[in-house]
């Protein structure tokens, strides 16, 4: 089965500026893929090439095995898209906006699903009748999410989907993604700066920096490979670390050690057996720490 998204040596120059350079990535069908990178790294350019809004300088992008350039209309039949900057026809009402965009879809919009989304994202009939320029930023964003989802596309491309949403709506969005993931019919390509959201929702992440993919990995692998931070407290003065832990101790003082441990935690705990340990704090895995290193260029090797 063809990849839902595949790019092959995708390169894009805007004049002298390199936006993408030989970008190779693949996203499997039904996968939730987090596409991360600092501002200006090429995320939006990649998305816009997939939608044929921007033309690649060289290389190609494929969706379901179809070339985004030569079969763009067919590809766009399958895509639901939420842009990072939500463009609106200001004088339209919310309902008019959704109807207008539904009319541009080639497949019939499932209105019962649309009603379900409106209810989930707490969009009332009053909101639907209001002009878009009178809505709050968060409400406009909700309309953006609904218009992307309402056609039940097989590929969802979401650029900063939860920007401006309140925690309750972020939860509603997460619930929707989980639902789609469970159904398994929709591939989700999600670009976000909210790393906790990516960590929670995505199966895999690709990290792009200066137009190049510097890392592509699964969240599960990242959890396994990323060193865990532990703080071990002792009853009384901290002892000398045993040889098996010595390499992992980053800092120690009179009462505790700070460790960065790679590999199964059980091995570290075994090594502490017999020591006067009073407490252990284990910092939860944070994608943020890892990604920040890559953004800053201190960790860049690709898998």
């Amino acid at each position: 089965m063809a990849d839902a998204i595949r790019t092959e040596a995708l390169t894009k120059y805007f004049g002298q500026v390199v936006a993408l350079e030989t970008l190779n990535l693949s996203v499997g069908p039904g996968e939730v893929y987090g596409f991360l990178g600092p501002n200006g790294s090429g995320k939006t350019t990649t998305i816009r090439i997939l939608l044929d809004l921007v033309r690649a300088t060289s290389g190609r992008a494929l969706v379901d095995g179809l070339d985004c350039r030569t079969a763009s209309v067919e590809i766009r039949r399958r895509i639901g898209y939420l842009p990072a900057e939500m463009p609106l026809y200001r004088e339209m009402t919310g309902a008019g906006y959704l109807d207008f965009l539904a009319a541009l879809e080639s497949r019939p919009v499932d209105f019962s699903y649309r009603r379900k989304l409106l209810s989930r994202f707490d969009v009332s009939d009053v909101d639907l009748r209001r002009r878009l320029d009178r809505l709050s930023h968060g409400m406009k964003r909700k309309f953006g999410i609904i218009q992307a989802l309402m056609g039940r596309p097989s590929l969802l491309i979401l650029d900063e989907p939860t920007s401006g949403l309140d925690p309750l709506m972020i939860e509603a969005f997460a619930e929707t993604v989980h639902e789609l993931k469970t159904e398994g019919r929709t591939t989700i390509f999600l670009s976000s700066h909210v790393l906790s959201e990516v960590e929670r929702l995505c199966d895999r992440v690709g990290i792009i920096r200066r137009g190049q993919l510097v890392r592509e990995t699964s969240i599960a692998d990242l959890r396994r490979d990323t060193p865990r931070r532990l703080r071990v407290f002792f009853d009384g003065p901290a002892p000398r670390p045993p040889a098996s832990l010595a390499g992992a101790v980053r800092r120690s003082d009179a009462r505790h050690w700070d460790l960065e441990w790679s590999g199964p935690l059980g091995t570290a705990l075994d090594a502490m057996r017999g020591l006067p340990v009073s407490d252990i704090e284990i910092e939860p895995f944070k994608l943020e720490d890892y990604v920040l290193k890559i953004y800053s260029g201190t960790e860049g090797a690709r898998d």
Binding site: L51, D52, V54, R55, E74, R76, P83, P87, L104, E105
Partner: protein, 247 residues
Amino acid sequence: MAALLSAFQILDIVVAYNLQAKGVYGQFASLVPAFIQEAMGGVLVGSFSGAIALGFAHPLVMLSLSCVAIYLASEPAGEVEDGLVDLVVARPVPRSLIVTRSALVFIVGSAAIVAAMFVTSRVTVRWLSPATASALPALRLAWVAANLLAIVWCLGAAALALASHVRERTRAAGTVAIVAVFLYLLQFGAAAWTPLRPFARVSPFHYYEPMRTLLGSMSPVKDIAGLLGATAVLLGVSAVLYSKRDL
């Protein structure tokens, strides 16, 4: 704009009727320099027929109409500028449809305005001077209107071509509007200064002689065909530019 330009037709014909009634046309015409009369279509201001033609040849009428078409045609650049194109073209909408839609909007929009002007002019002349209306067949006025429309379409198509390439609506519309004014002045200047005449051929306004058309002394078919040909070429250029551009 349709209401405004239609009102202009009424005002123009009412004033012409009063001048005719008072028999001061001769005096009025002598006040207008010959080159201006020539630039505006020969004996334009010297007769009631001339006044009817003036409703379709006054610089304000021609430039206002052109500006409407230019503004409507520059929509593709506006959509790129404010990002609306992202939502529309991200759906299964062929790019050619965006150009076709914009072309239809400016073509139909400007045609509707000119049609309103034509009907208003005709009805007002019939009301005030049935004899003049009988002497000037509707078909001749229709040719004048069609010639004017062809100029407007040509400029609209130029705006669409530029809007299919640039990212700012003001850049597309502003540039073509300024060029339109320049081309009008070029044609106007050529009437006063002979050395300019060869250059006036590049101006669409050069291919418009409302007075002679209205009096039946010339057929504007060739001029209209030339302007429509240029419009078609510019529409083709628009489609090609839009199909290749980054949105």
